[in-house]
Symmetry: D2
Subunit: 288 residues, 4 copies
């Protein structure tokens, strides 16, 4: 993101809740001259629950200090607390691959926001099972790869996708990608995968969701962004939002309103993820 201070770093920690975590972590940073700019924490329960911490700090010469910070934190703090942790320079953009099928609203919105410097990401690659959006993507100067997927070719297609992306991206975003990724793919890609899908009250299964919503007379159209897991549409929720609709809207208009809310919700989810604001805790998330 344009103009991010190169001396700003982020630290995310999770461990079993126990007294003294904040004192321990903040003393560690203080002794190294890091000034805490923002700090958030949450716990699922002080007695034996899980503790989550996100700290934004300012440290002159961060890029040179980061490797030493990590090494010493591992030895002095993480080992003692039995904690998972992650340091990151806020100025380094997240490398992202976008998967898309034919609906372009989420893809274009992300490409556009990335180009305007609104998102802390670098879009490295777009992958699609259809060739339709090739020119559009190229006009943003982003690589586009058409990898068709049929039931028969899916394993081969996933191999190609992995070959293209593994070790070169930090995040995969399914920007209306209408194929289900296998559990094997999710394991091997080794980075988080964010998905967006429509949501209704009540929920509808199966094809033609907006036709079903119209038929049922729902008054709210929503979208949910979540981490993809093998169980379709069941991963930890990152963000949700809704928009009001009335009986006047046709199924087609519902789909349009839905597209608007999908792109907004997905942009928020990607932003928050890339700012290390989203911590996964089993089936749920903490969004700082």
């Amino acid at each position: 993101m344009t103009g991010t201070d190169p001396d700003v770093g982020r630290l995310v920690v999770s461990c079993t809740d126990q007294p003294g975590i904040v004192a321990c972590v903040s003393s560690f940073l203080y002794r190294r001259g890091a000034n805490i700019v923002q700090s958030d924490q949450d716990s699922t329960g002080p007695a034996g629950g899980r503790f989550f911490l996100r700290i934004v700090f300012h440290l002159p010469g961060l890029d040179k200090e980061l490797p030493r910070l990590e090494r010493e934190f591992r030895q002095e703090v993480a080992a003692r607390l039995d904690a998972d942790f992650r340091f990151r320079a806020a100025s380094v953009p997240t490398r992202v691959a976008l998967f898309v099928s034919r609906y372009d609203h989420c893809l274009l919105d992300l490409l556009w926001r990335a180009r305007r410097g609104e998102l802390p990401i670098e879009v490295c690659q777009v992958v699609s099972n259809h060739p339709d959006l090739a020119d559009e993507v190229s006009s943003f100067g982003v690589a586009f790869e058409h990898i068709p997927v049929t039931r028969a070719t899916k394993p081969e297609a996933e191999r190609r996708q992995l070959g293209l992306l593994r070790d070169s991206v930090d995040l995969v975003v399914l920007a209306r990608y209408m194929q289900i990724l296998s559990g094997d793919f999710l394991d091997r890609i080794g980075v988080p995968v964010i998905n967006i899908h429509h949501s209704f009250l009540p929920a509808f299964a199966g094809a033609g969701p907006y036709e079903q919503a119209k038929e049922r007379g729902v008054k709210l159209i929503g979208a949910t962004a979540h981490y993809a897991t093998e169980e379709l549409d069941e991963g930890p929720i990152i963000e949700q939002d809704v928009v009001r609709v009335s009986h006047r809207a046709s199924a087609r208009e519902l789909a349009r309103r839905g597209a608007d809310i999908e792109r907004t919700v997905l942009a928020r989810a990607v932003t928050w993820h890339c700012e290390d604001r989203v911590l996964v805790n089993g089936r749920t998330t903490i969004v700082f």
Copy 2:
């Protein structure tokens, strides 16, 4: 509702869509000196779809004219269009029975709004399967009947409820009534029954919905008001709304936020129903 003009009437019509409906209905009213104040219509499709019309009109001496209006409309218009219709004086409040169990938030909100003259209703009777809220209800000057319900006594309880209410109310509102009404009861009560329940994205079945919502990390808590049918929570939707929540809210706080949204959504649904704004079309509604 305080101060409603006694000369304001409402007409609701539904029939197979066909050319000339509005011309026919509006000419009928015009010839009788009624001035159309507001008019809404909707159609599921001009060729063979279903047509819905709601008209608010002003007619001096409405209360005396209403029986003649109905008779002549039946003969001159409804017969020709094969239409269902309903005339009503806006100044006559809807007679309502409220069913409740132990949660008081929806009940008190309706009683309170009714007392302040905000709702076009007269609350005739509160029925509960628990005695807890008797004093509270009495303080509003409304009759309270405690009719316990167990699996064994349910048929007898429903007979008592029917004896108490049949032919004396125009609407039953389930203001967090935690018992399922039988299809037989719904048939025999002969008036619409409005229910309110919590709604989530995604939906949760079974007990402890707020615990499930907490566990799943939902970001929106909602409520749906709908007409009760034999299929639980599946009747035509009247109104829905949601409120944002974060990971910080406990299951108990989620339930509180849910209670706020439930009472708001239910009040809107009852108001709109009693103003003849809600027209049922199979499994869906049109809300003018």
Copy 3:
């Protein structure tokens, strides 16, 4: 808009409220074989108020019938009711000129929606007082004209704008155009002009609105789309919406959230205007 039925027309009427308007208008349409698909009306008061009507109808061979319909409506109905009216074929897109300065979010969102067939418009021309967005606009295949404006050259600039647009567009949209149009320009352009601007609770005057909002700790950031008048930001309101923000958002992030809500509100306002849903009544609007 792709796929709009060529036989669907719209009629908008306004006149002094009086008995029989709907009967008169609907009979007129019925006798010519037009089937009313949707109808909305509103009145500021049955006794001497202003009456507003919007009708969507289906008439086979509409494009050939339209001139005759207009002529006969003028003679038979409008003359009698002393009414203003407008017929339009729903399939004919509104010709739009977009004015922009440097902020691109509203402009690109409209261009993009137009290209996807989401908006019932044809963008004929983009006019800007800065050259920055020329390439971006050209990539959409839309003409771009750079007309610089300074205090000294403003009259000349407005003459050039009028020369370019008069009689060739149906609507001007100020998509974050940071110049004030003169009353003279608004008179002579002869078509409606829609503007978008940020809105806060409370309102802030003057420069740096997001800095002021940050300073004041507002919890909601909003946008208002309205018809432009000589009094800046004071024309009839078409649409408004808000988004929640917290103390955590910097002034820069507030501006970004504001941009999101601005483009959404403006797209809705343009859509509704072009669907003849927005009827101006003095300083206010009726949005059907």
Copy 4:
């Protein structure tokens, strides 16, 4: 609030931002056996800005430890950081006086929520310049004092109010109190005063705000809760919200929708204040 753990305490700190604050405060708590359950911080800028911290902690035997904790924190931490701070037991309710005139919606909503155990408050006294709501308030078992106010008697009325409340309440809530409190009263009452008022986009000054909103065709009706200051409606904002309205709503209906949003916003503001979530920073607030 029912069931609050007596061992849960809250600490609020503000001081000039400087390195080591969190380390210093968290170490202090850690050494005394307090386990930090929740912690939020914010800074207006690491270099010389203002730093704000709110900590929720668990300490067995809190009520006995609190005086010692305060004394030692003052000596060991606050003196060193030149910090303002406040310790509080979460289980001790805030003592509140409610001021009201004739509109009852905010008053009743707060009384009702307090009785249900939803708010962490004890309502000690209701003060009104009208006698109308005396019986209503008494039915909640709360003392009601009628203190009429005219231009002439205002100083005397404020003296009576101060005599009744000074040193016996922690918070004053203006629940639609239609009198302006003098700067002298605000100084001498010595506790925060929360006010609620309607808000619109754009804002309207003067009488009949809902009539003005109707006249201007606003699409959103809002409410703002803020701390009262001598400058009317200009104090630090705690919470705001809006609800959508259409041209169909009369000024009277706008006022009703406004009342709904006022009571909701005020209840949230009072809850957050009493949970020490609202930290004032000059003209703005931080809401954790």
